[in-house]
Subunit: 304 residues, 2 copies
């Protein structure tokens, strides 16, 4: 199977602590590196976990709160110091212009590559990037300011040729492409060999959804239905549910309810409030509702 790997660079929230870094994740899909959010120190975390900056394909910013964007200036400068030449696409809400442009114009003449800013639609689902094998979609979350979630998808791949059966039937090379495309094979003596005997199943579709920051919002369920992994913020424990409502964040239990209702395979929670030096309670409260829950932690890698 092609690579589909999520690396957690930071899973804290607004107030920095010695335990957690501000939000950022890397999604490696078949050697293309996508970044979601870029809190202060993200480039230092990339160094620490030996992520290859040269593979960075594009950046997705969920919303414009400081803990999700303050690592951008440093990362962009460093990419330029490293001599990057490929364009870098940044998908973020339109006000990012206003925040980044002074910096970019200040660095302007010294930047080695071009940055393309693409505005996110805060009100509807939208495909941001697509090629033959993968797709990235954004969808609305529910936060104090415009915020979007992201769905990373590796498409189902075509069935693979079963080399042994090809040899067994002495199938001519020129017909192999047709079989790859789904054709059956008619032998010289008139027997029909069905395609499923000549090929093995391709990679199944795999999907990862990132939802942070967001209040408890059942309206996001259609966007994340049945994903293989859901990252959902769980800023607070149930004892702070009122505080979660006021600040448009979720409790661990609410994250688990969303995961259960969406029928996801696995849930990873994060974006922990700085008040928790011990996050075992958050895990316990989530697992009670949705057993396949795990905690995000800096440096963690999840393979799909």
């Amino acid at each position: 199977m092609t690579k589909f790997e999520i690396t957690v660079l930071g899973c804290g929230s607004a107030m920095p602590t010695t335990l957690h870094h501000p939000p950022s994740q890397l999604i490696d899909m078949n050697e293309k590196l996508f970044m979601v959010d870029c809190g202060e120190g993200t480039q230092l975390q990339m160094r620490k976990y030996q992520a290859r900056m040269s593979k960075l394909h594009s950046l997705f910013i969920s919303h414009l709160h400081g803990d999700h964007i303050f690592g951008l200036p440093g990362l962009l400068s460093t990419l330029s110091l490293l001599g990057r030449t490929a364009d870098l696409n940044i998908y973020a809400h339109k006000e990012i212009d206003f925040l980044l442009n002074p910096l970019l114009s200040y660095l302007g003449n010294h930047m080695s590559f071009k940055i393309n800013l693409f505005p996110l639609n805060p009100n509807a689902e939208e495909v941001l990037f697509e090629n033959r094998t993968m797709q990235v979609t954004s969808f609305p979350l529910k936060h104090r300011i415009d915020a979007n979630g992201f769905l990373f998808e590796q498409k189902e791949s075509p069935r693979h040729i079963n080399r042994e059966m090809i040899d067994f039937y002495h199938i001519p090379v020129k017909q192999i492409q047709e079989i790859k495309n789904g054709a059956d094979y008619l032998t010289p003596d008139g027997a029909l060999i069905l395609n499923e005997h000549l090929t093995n199943p391709g990679n199944p579709a795999r999907r990862y959804a990132y939802c942070s920051d967001t209040a408890y919002a059942p309206e996001i369920i259609p966007y994340i239905k049945n994903v293989d992994l859901l990252y959902h913020e769980a800023t607070f424990a149930e004892s702070e549910r009122m505080r979660a409502e006021e600040t448009f964040h979720s409790t661990a239990r609410q994250a688990a309810k969303i995961a259960a209702a969406a029928g996801v395979k696995k849930l990873m929670i994060g974006h922990y409030s700085s008040r928790y030096s011990e996050i075992g309670t958050l895990l316990k409260e989530a697992v009670a509702v949705f057993p396949h829950t795990e905690l995000a932690v800096e440096g963690k890698i999840v393979s799909l």
Copy 2:
């Protein structure tokens, strides 16, 4: 003696490494905390070394290269989240306006305190802050863009009353203030007791100079003459002297030459290029010229 303590938060240079953080230092003068430079991750380093954010008095930015300023947005946001109410003075070159204002206007309504930006004079010495016991001065360095060094000074304090001698001569309370101010004492039987017998020496003046980033520049010597501690950048080893010249940085040997010519008591070098995983060479090259040299390292505290 009153506190005069320098804490190194970061002593790397433009390119981040796993060994060094971007530049920042804290200077604690009698419980007032002054920050010099604020590279990305500075607030995280403050947490790590348990610096008290509430004591932060003002910020001094040597120049507007990214590695010296990219920690500002995060630090300012966090101070606001912590509910700071006292004004914060930031001393930096005037273009900081242009870089910080979009962010400040974006955060505007949510900031709990006021920021005052004071432009540095890149061409002449200037007193930035002064009270009865301390003073901060800026002076020009020599870099690719405007850059200033800073001199932190605790003034000589008046002589202290020697309680035992006061008791011995039964000196009336009302005369003690005069003696503090330097007066001698005439006993009832006409003997003159000199002030130096009635008082002990006060704190001597102590001075710390911060010079980064700068090319080798003997013209800075008058500003840093005889300081107790000089921090001078030493980005490169002697083998990269041409590179140092091209980029307006110094070698460790050049830093030591400045220290020797200025007659400083002690030299601390830092701002190491990312190319050095081992900085022993830099120390060796500096010590050969100026023996009282030490290496900056994250978390190091020097007391004057």
